[in-house]
């Protein structure tokens, strides 16, 4: 057993050498036929003791749910970490659960208090109390239900438990036959750490052995979204294979392992402690004679983080001191939660001007919404209004709701956007005050309708009678956050809240919005709320595999150029589409320019509501009674009365 002094840090440079390899590859592509990577079949006869690959460990549906959760809006990507050799940040995106694995020290950060902020990470997902120690059958049902409900976090918890319970059978290294006896069946039930890695095509990981002192035996990796080949080497030679998978040292043993999507890889014993592993950075793999291009792969690595080993002295039976080997290590305590989204930073708000201890509420604006709701609508306002707005598609329920209110009603339209519902209110003889967090979007509501007697064509829903033109030219609007609606308590006869709730990323914010709506409407008044449903109809092009998703919006640069509010007026002067696109992709996090289609793609955060979810939220608040509820055109709606 190695003492700590003998263990060298095995992590090699992650970035620079591989950049060189990519450049080499491109050069060769230019010259003619690309080189074939070494094929897995060349190492078929090599046996790595303790290495097992179990195909189809998870189903395609489970895989989809996991990917939606792990790459969705609530994914807790770790802040950029500095590379050990100071060549820059680790290029791959990573997430840690339970305990952070620090690439700089190549060790687990065990003590959050000592290590500070860099040791912060979300807890491991866990099963609800009534499922802990449940039967295997019950676990299967739990996972199935979670998949059906698109609850990625629950699916994750279920899969982790499936791994903890899995009975791995040791294979005889010589005959590769299963030994079959009880002693050779092993489970790794103390898994307490998970690292998620995103490998984009061309990305890999340098040759390494997972730090002995950080993790116990049994390291499991599930591949999601794509296949790849992993290289194993038996010597502690630190040099990576080149892009052809060739290695200088011909004395050491090498094994190329095919990892198909949805497979689980177990590294135990020698496979974990003495063989190093690596994913070569290149664009293709060769499996059994077939070239497979690399696609984006998510790896989910499950490990047991252990206490630091210590050298201890024990008294021998003869009374003298005897220096024993390292103390038996223990798994670190399991840090776990079934709460979603996982809480791991203060309020999820990064606000340097205000420490979280000053905030006495739980509905502060998270970055997800700042970047993927507010900023997006600010940018796309013009196109939004020109397409969705002018097309004039209104939810029939909402229009009916407005028409059925008594004339002269004061109606608050919270999250009014470009004022789609204003004409319906005016024509019904009532007055609407609209609020929205996006100032550019509010501006598009001004003068957006045409007079009934004019020659200008417009959608039916954007036509107003001449007596209402004054209202159309100067609609009653204010820039405001639905968390703090700037309207007097019990002052409005009714309220609309359409397509707003699905942009709220936490339960606390959803409840706060409902409370505010209940506050501004007088007793006996009605509130109409509509939000995107998880259960889309069959004919809809949209299919959601997670409850929290990014929904793309494809913006044309010509529209973005006109949206001068928010960016400086330089935008108006730029004629070149690519320049405009670059300004937006630089300014807006997560926006990407699709050069082929000449579109800037923004990602909007959306929470999809399950059947009954809106009703559950209302039930948390006193003073609101559900008058009507249902499903219409891919939305759930509720009509509330203030009591």
């Amino acid at each position: 057993m190695m003492s700590e002094a003998e263990i060298t840090i095995e992590i090699t440079n992650e970035s620079e050498p591989h950049h060189d390899n990519i450049v080499h590859n491109l050069e060769r592509f230019d010259k003619g036929e690309p080189p074939r990577p070494q094929c897995t079949s060349t190492t078929d006869s090599v046996v790595v003791p303790g290495l097992q690959c179990i195909h189809d460990f998870i189903t395609e549906q489970e895989e989809r749910a996991l990917i939606a959760c792990l790459t969705g809006p609530h994914a807790p990507w770790a802040p950029a970490q500095c590379n050990f050799s100071k060549t820059g940040n680790v290029k791959r995106r990573v997430q840690h659960y339970g305990y952070v694995f620090d690439y700089e020290t190549a060790n687990v950060l065990r003590d959050r208090e000592k290590e500070g902020e860099k040791a912060l990470c979300p807890p491991m997902p866990c099963l609800p109390d009534n499922y802990k120690s449940c039967s295997d059958e019950k676990l299967s049902c739990f996972i199935q239900d979670a998949v059906k409900n698109a609850s990625g976090w629950d699916v994750l918890a279920g899969i982790i438990e499936r791994v903890r319970r899995y009975k791995f059978v040791a294979k005889d290294p010589m005959s590769q036959q299963h030994k079959g006896t009880e002693e050779n069946i092993r489970s790794y039930s103390f898994i307490n750490q998970m690292t998620v890695n995103e490998y984009k095509p061309g990305e890999g990981i340098g040759s390494h052995i997972d730090t002995h002192s950080a993790f116990g035996d049994g390291i499991m990796s599930i591949s999601l979204g794509a296949d790849c080949v992993m290289n194993f080497k038996s010597s502690r030679d630190d040099n990576d294979d080149d892009d052809d998978g060739n290695h200088g040292n011909t004395n050491m043993k090498k094994k190329l392992v095919y990892l198909p999507a949805r497979s689980l890889l177990l590294m135990s014993g020698p496979a974990r402690y003495t063989w190093s592993h690596q994913i070569v950075t290149r664009m293709t793999d060769c499996v059994n004679g077939k070239i497979i291009p690399r696609k984006t792969r998510i790896s989910l690595t499950l490990r047991t983080a252990i206490t630091s080993p210590r050298i201890s002295t024990t008294t021998t039976s003869s009374g003298g001191d005897d220096e024993s080997t390292a103390d038996a290590t223990q798994p670190l305590p399991l840090i776990t939660s079934c709460e979603y989204p996982p809480k791991w930073r203060d309020c999820g708000v990064i606000n340097t001007s205000c420490s979280s201890s000053l905030l006495q509420h739980d509905f502060a604006t998270p970055d997800t919404e700042k970047n993927h709701v507010h900023a997006v609508y600010d940018a796309i306002a013009t196109q939004w209004h020109h397409t969705r707005g002018k097309r004039g598609v209104l939810w029939p329920r909402a229009t009916r709701f407005v028409k059925e209110l008594p004339k002269g009603s004061i109606i608050a339209d919270v999250g009014c956007g470009d004022g789609k519902y204003f004409p319906a209110v005016w024509e019904a003889g009532s007055y609407v005050i609209g609020t929205d967090i996006s100032e550019p979007l509010l501006h598009t509501s001004i003068g957006s309708c045409v007079a009934a007697d004019s020659n200008v064509a417009g959608p039916e829903t954007r036509i107003v009678s001449t007596s209402k033109l004054g209202l159309n030219n100067r609609p009653a609007i204010a820039v405001a956050d639905c968390m703090q609606i700037p309207l007097r308590t019990s002052s409005c006869d009714a309220a609309l809240c359409i397509a707003v709730m699905h942009h709220l990323s936490t339960r606390a914010r959803r409840i706060r919005c409902l409370k505010e709506l209940g506050r501004i409407v007088k007793r006996g008044g009605l509130i109409n709320i509509q939000a995107w449903a998880l259960e889309q109809e069959q004919s809809s092009r949209r299919k959601f595999s997670g409850t929290d998703v990014f929904v793309p919006f494809h913006a044309q640069p010509k529209y973005l150029a006109k949206s001068s509010i928010g960016l400086s007026t330089i935008v108006e002067q730029k004629q070149d589409k690519k320049e405009i696109a670059k300004m937006y992709t630089d300014a807006y996090k997560g926006a990407q320019y699709n050069e082929e289609k000449d579109l800037v793609v923004f990602q909007r955060y959306c929470h999809m509501y399950k059947k009954g979810e809106l009703e559950d939220l209302v039930a948390q608040i006193g003073g609101l009674e559900i008058v009507d509820s249902g499903f219409e055109c891919g939305n759930h709606f509720v009509v509330l009365r203030v009591i």
Binding site: H361, P406, K407, G408, I437, S467, V479, Q484, D493
Partner: protein
């Protein structure tokens, strides 16, 4: 921003007791005549806070005297100190129409009566967004 809209606005800054009526410090006011609809007015007027309306008129009148950046031709009609909702004569309705619908604060500030917090009005749109530490 019309005075009808101002009637419903309130400040929700931390530390407010009531938060309305908001003071109006207008630097640009416009007048635009709009079609008079007696029926519409009769149904709306019982809903408004009349003392807030008078307060709003008083705030704007002060600015009309001070500022040079006011459109010409604005004259605010005199309104009674109180009104009976079921006895609104047409000439009173017309005055109410003017003050509720046709006078627009384009630029300026709304000011919280309790905390003094200012909310900017730009192009007729008040910005009521609070900072994280004001909630």
């Amino acid at each position: 921003m019309r005075l009808l809209t101002h009637n419903y606005l309130q400040s929700t800054v931390k530390g407010t007791e009531k938060g309305y009526p908001l003071k109006i410090e207008a630097t640009k006011i416009e007048y635009e005549e709009s079609p008079f609809d007696a029926e519409f007015l009769r149904s709306l007027i019982p809903k408004i806070d009349y003392s807030t309306l008078l307060f709003g008129i008083q705030q704007i009148s002060e600015k009309l005297e001070d500022s040079n950046d006011i459109q010409e031709g604005i004259s605010i009609p005199n309104l009674p100190e109180s009104i009976e909702n079921d006895d609104l004569q047409e000439d009173l309705l017309k005055k109410l129409h003017t003050v509720l619908f046709d006078i627009h604060v384009i630029e300026g500030d709304l000011v919280c009566p309790d905390t003094g917090r200012r909310f900017n009005i730009k192009k007729g749109i008040p910005n009521m967004i609070l900072h994280a530490d004001e909630i």
